[in-house]
Subunit: 445 residues, 2 copies
């Protein structure tokens, strides 16, 4: 079996385009520039647009009146690859192991982005035109919350006017099972530091007489949840829209995912909010997570120190109709109220994004499901997903359009983790999906 | 003013003899070898003794019958210098700033060790002999709990037989105030890891369905204390000997140290066990401290990850008559009982040492106080100290002798912290103290 376009995908994967890392700024930009030239090479008109951060790459075919205008979004930036020691292949050298491409970004999102690009390349080569007016919009800041994309959309709303957006950056419920995602969780990130002594202290000399920032941080972090897995921040659930009956039934029809989640994660036991299934916990319930915690001595052996500060990096996954700004205020009030004596609290809010939900039974939703059915066969799973793509809400807010989420990632593709990978078969399915999707959307009246 | 012997002290300080760091093994050994040659050079017979860890340096004058035998203990290893960015002078290059020598180890313990060595050097040069039979015992593992010193004492108990031990490795209550320390806290260290998923997880995909090890660790850590600053481990206080009235009165006579502690530490407010003074909290009450905590993403920006594990490095300061082994069992039981669901607990115990107390009104205690009075003038403060010198208990157990603790460190010498320093005046006082001490001890009947 040949894998058309793999050379291009491998070239794209080799750029260590880690958007959160200032040291990778030039390489992230080079990744965008490479895409620009590739898009021009397949016959599209393409431009690289500067932003205060990493550039946005825009491309389009010759638009003609009377056709649907479809925007396909992707992102060329990736998560950090750390911890590097846990990779079995080099993090930024694509390596085929069995039927998978191993590389940071293979799934999220370069593999899926390139499948669409290759689909368009093949259609243009075979037919000289596409059935729709196409806009490719590829950004380099998705993994840091797309801070510059919404202003970009706002500034160019007229020229970016389209009928809908399509994105492949979500998951499939199982290998070979076409999956349509109609909802996403939002996110609100914050970094919390508690500061105590002005210098690191000897825990023998001063231990017992001052609040240890590590202790203060742990006690503060422990107030974020109650004993039944609920977030204990006052008002946190006020705006949560209850799950509808058809959703709960559709998900139950997919089978309980608890066993699969336990197998994929390797946890000794699942743990979550009392009263909800595994799918509901992951797709439709809000969370508070401590993504990083640190303070004091981190090296080998022991050091009897009381550190001057300790930190935690928090993220809150949000569901309709929670609002990140309101949750930020709730979290600030909670942390302020629960800060132990003897330390000072410092909070910096990070990126955020609204949760999203669309009607999967709309005309465009139905067309997307037909394209998935043609690509994969069998019935199509209707799901929400637990991750956050804040830009989906931005498309809704600024351009007034829904987003079709046609994911190609499998549950074991290890997005964001070491040994991220993407099946060769999913790359090829993605190429076919691109062709079917543009054809089906062109036919929607 | 000249500072006799400073060249030697500076040479000693330049060795980065960090005993806990395997990468510093050769340099720690080189530090011991330099001491060996220095001791030979001043006219003592000296030997370097191998241990499974860093070597022990032993030296003695010609012992004569009918004289007191005094062992002077010191250690040539130091704490890690991290965080290096906070040093205003190079961590391992002694630099005189004002009236202080800045360097890792300046106070703890190389400056104090060298004051004794210089005192002996000067007495030998001037008088050709010492008033006592002297044994210098310098080890290289004090900062990691002296794992090889007790076996060394046991193996050589006969040749190390002495009447008492003297150590300068404790603090003075104020500049110029001779201070006799008659008690020390013990210690018990342990490293705790909680393990959850087998790989780092995407907090969007799996958040809400698994226990986050960072959260589990924080919740576990938060169980270590109650809301009034007491350690909440069952049985922890069972063996704590109550403070005696004369001690509480002697310490009250020194004045409440709360203001000084707040100034030295720079904390926004003091915080400790309800019902005890600042001195009592630091010198005579047991503690539980989290010296290090870590898990998940530690870099710049955010990474939406659920890490596979998180750790904390614990140390417990112990007071008479607590026992480290019993406390370890209590802590293990506590942590096991309070481990949240969905993670597995892993505990490794580290170094430990018994707490120590002696009678400051003994003949030797009185002689030490006279030497301090002659060196510094004024009255001598009788205190306990919050730090741990496990070897003091080992001298008691193996050699059956008390230890005189004649500290030369000031509260702002920043032992164990960045910008550790030692006053030139205290170095010179230490040289005088060594001469007075040997003279006074020789006179004890």
């Amino acid at each position: 079996m040949t894998h058309p376009g793999l050379d291009d995908l491998f070239t794209l994967l080799r750029f260590p385009s880690v958007s959160t890392d200032p040291a990778r700024r030039a390489e992230t930009r080079a990744c965008g520039s490479w895409l620009l030239n590739k898009l021009k090479g397949i016959g599209l008109s393409a431009e690289l647009h500067e932003t205060p951060g990493h550039p946005i790459v825009l491309a389009r075919n010759t638009h003609k009146p009377g056709r649907k205008t479809v925007m396909i979004y992707g992102h060329y930036d990736v998560q950090p690859a750390e911890p590097l020691a846990e990779w079995r292949t080099p993090a930024f050298e694509p390596t085929v192991v069995g039927d998978r491409i191993m590389c940071r970004g293979a799934t999220d999102n370069k593999g899926q982005l390139m499948a669409h690009l290759r689909g368009v390349e093949e259609t243009l080569a075979a037919e000289g035109d596409l059935p729709v007016n196409l806009i490719f919009l590829f950004e380099g800041e998705e993994e840091i919350g797309s801070p510059n994309l919404k202003p970009f959309l706002q500034a160019r709303a007229a020229e970016l006017k389209c009928d809908l957006v399509a994105i492949s950056d979500t998951g499939m419920v199982a290998e070979g099972k076409g999956t349509f995602t109609y909802g996403l969780r939002g996110i609100m990130c914050a970094e919390v530091t508690v500061k105590g002594p002005s210098i690191d202290l000897h825990s023998g000399i001063f231990g017992g007489a001052v609040m240890n920032p590590n202790k203060a941080l742990a006690r503060l972090a422990a107030t974020l949840h109650d004993d039944e897995g609920r977030v204990a921040v006052a008002g946190f659930y006020d705006d949560v829209r209850p799950l509808q009956d058809w959703e709960r039934e559709a998900w139950q029809g997919l089978g309980d995912s608890a066993g699969e989640t336990q197998e994929l994660t390797g946890v000794p036991a699942l743990h979550g909010e009392v009263g909800f299934t595994d799918q509901e916990r992951r797709w439709a319930r809000p969370t508070a997570e401590i993504n990083g915690i640190g303070g004091g001595y981190q090296g080998a052996g022991s050091k009897t120190v009381i550190p001057r500060e300790a930190f935690m990096k928090l993220s809150f996954r949000l569901v309709p109709d929670q609002n990140p700004e309101r949750v930020l205020e709730q979290v600030k009030a909670h942390l302020k109220k629960h800060t132990p004596p003897g330390v000072v609290l410092d909070l910096h809010d990070g990126h955020s994004g609204l949760p999203y939900v669309m009607d999967p039974h709309s005309k465009e939703g139905a067309a997307a499901q037909r394209a998935l059915q043609q690509t994969f066969g069998g019935s199509v799973a209707l799901i929400r997903e637990g991750g956050s793509i804040p830009i989906v809400q931005a498309f809704k807010d600024v351009l007034g359009v829904d987003t079709l989420l046609l994911g190609l990632a499998l549950p074991d593709c290890q997005a964001h983790a070491p040994n991220e990978n993407f099946p060769l078969a999913n790359y090829e399915a993605g190429v076919r999906l691109n062709k079917a999707l543009l054809r089906e959307l062109a036919a929607v009246v």
